[in-house]
Symmetry: C2
Subunit: 338 residues, 2 copies
């Protein structure tokens, strides 16, 4: 053995052929043993199994997928795993995946159209058995593209239905209307909606509803631009709260709501007497933060699980109801009066 020779024990991947040879049978028999298909005599089965174990043979998922046209992989497209509610959904998906023998391939879009189209390409190339989309960069037409490559789709947070598309829309409108009108009747504060640039359809829909309900009731309202960052929002509100106004503020999610609350508290304003805050997307942090934040709750872990269940049915062609709506629930905490 020469000096410079590579000594790594990268034993080459053992294939079905080698198992067959070592067992003295054909590769078809090995395949049968692996998949418990066809009929194999107990004796050869034992022998083959022992060889498989001895050689440490693991079938190549690639070759299997190519031969069977099934990968048992599903794609998940999300903007980022960094938001708690999205991580919760992801967790629900993986849970159901594991129980059903699927594996998750993760695609993130970082809020960019370019990334999104890139994902689309890669998802199609990857031969996933199906895909769950929770991403505003992808619209109905994009989802049709998946379908045209016969990739079943479950679209979360939309209402797009087609032959191989199911959807899980969220119901925030009714509840939003109820809360706003309750504030008109019992409350005394003008409402401010925190508008986040490019934050997606979910927030836009709620914002539109916010405006609509105000117009219907002939009430004044504020829309305020807001960064999707705790620090920046905190600073903005420290500035804003120098004038000790009373306000009812609606924020996208817990961190943003917390920024407002902390700024209020740090400015000597009382919650909820002076400042009321509502978080649209509530997570467990709504209850951990003090004061606890009132929020419109949807269990995103359950959303993820449901999405995956629906996708499995869609893949198997047994999905009856292509739409499953999640209604939000009002969790009244300390940051609001009613």
């Amino acid at each position: 053995m020469k000096g410079g020779e590579i000594m790594e024990n990268l034993k080459e991947r053992v294939t079905i052929y080698e198992v067959a040879k070592a067992s003295g049978v054909s590769l078809a028999t090995v395949s049968r043993v692996m998949n418990n298909s066809g009929t194999v005599s107990e004796e050869t089965k034992r022998k083959v199994l022992s060889i498989i174990k001895k050689l440490g043979y693991k079938p190549s998922g690639l070759a299997q997928a190519l031969a069977t046209n099934k990968t048992t992989n599903i794609g998940v497209i999300i903007p980022s795993a960094n938001y708690v509610y999205i991580a919760n959904m992801l967790n629900g998906i993986t849970e159901v995946c594991k129980k059903n023998g699927f594996t998750v391939i993760l695609y993130t879009t970082s809020h960019s159209r370019e990334d999104a189209l890139n994902c689309l390409e890669r998802v199609i190339k990857s031969h996933v058995d199906g895909v769950i989309v929770f991403d505003d960069e992808l619209d109905g037409e994009d989802l049709e593209v998946f379908n045209s490559y016969s990739v079943p789709v479950i679209d979360v947070n939309n209402r797009i239905v087609a032959s191989k598309i199911g959807c899980i829309p969220f119901g925030y409108e009714h509840l939003m209307k109820r809360i706003i009108e309750e504030n008109f009747v019992k409350g005394d504060k003008k409402m401010t909606f925190l508008h986040v640039h490019n934050a997606g359809r979910l927030l836009s829909r709620v914002e539109n509803q916010f405006i609509k309900v105000h117009l219907e009731n002939d009430r004044e309202y504020n829309i305020m631009n807001c960064d999707d960052s705790y620090q920046r929002t905190y600073q903005d509100f420290m500035e804003r709260f120098k004038q000790k106004r009373k306000e009812y503020i609606i924020a996208y999610r817990d961190s943003i709501a917390a920024a407002v609350l902390n700024a209020a508290t740090d400015s000597g304003l009382r919650v909820p007497e002076d400042i009321e805050v509502l978080s649209i997307i509530g997570t467990k942090y709504s209850s951990i933060l003090r004061p606890q934040i009132s929020n419109l709750h949807i269990n995103f872990q359950e959303v993820g699980k449901r999405a995956m269940y629906m996708l499995i049915d869609l893949i198997n062609g047994t999905l009856i109801e292509k739409e499953y709506k999640f209604e939000s629930e009002y969790i009244k905490k300390d940051s609001t009066f009613f």
Copy 2:
């Protein structure tokens, strides 16, 4: 056309053969066009490209992977995406992946040895080009198994090095010692370490260090069993704080620390005068919660990025330093005195 016929426009996947036929060239030429390899005349190139576009041809990643022995997929093994710091790491990984043309396959183990071994199997079957492991269920021997199937590994939170294994250990011990001893000198409270059953090596190591430093200094300490859940811990401490004792409590992560803090506040105890709390793993919530939580900070997004950079180098055989340590940093906030 009969009535019951299926009308779905699931156009079958178009293959390289069909493109070749439609272009009047051989599949080899199409392959060359796709990969910009070899030499193709401008004219046929144009023709082939137009056909590719027209037919919407996307090469099969499966077949490519089988032929080239490269998937451009990497595996990520984590206990769950539900913890903020893990989600942060995941985010760092995906970011670097995207820039370098890799795709993440996600494997979660749900804190079970069985799941972990299952992951091991699936990772090997899936032909990933490499794997990042941040999971206590998998030990050094398991990682060697990856290696024996020539799957490069980056192991986070451990110090295991081998031919195709790199690692990213965390440095908590020194800082822990410094903080504890500072408390001995300047502080006046007995320290309590929250022991979480089966929470993994990271916490165990810190706990051992906690005990060691106390023994070295001949000081008394408490170890207290604690659930890895906000609610349960909150209740436990509401009970405990009925006796208005003074304590310095060390918790695993923000949520748990918050449970202690909230219980203290709700029991009429002052922070940090009566109760001091330190969170070992700090996230952005350390600064959002009130009082803000002192913590031992490691930027997990950076950990994820670094892990992926190292993995890429390992795959390419260009990784020089197989170990890259992340030292924790003490972020002094309002929940402690020093």
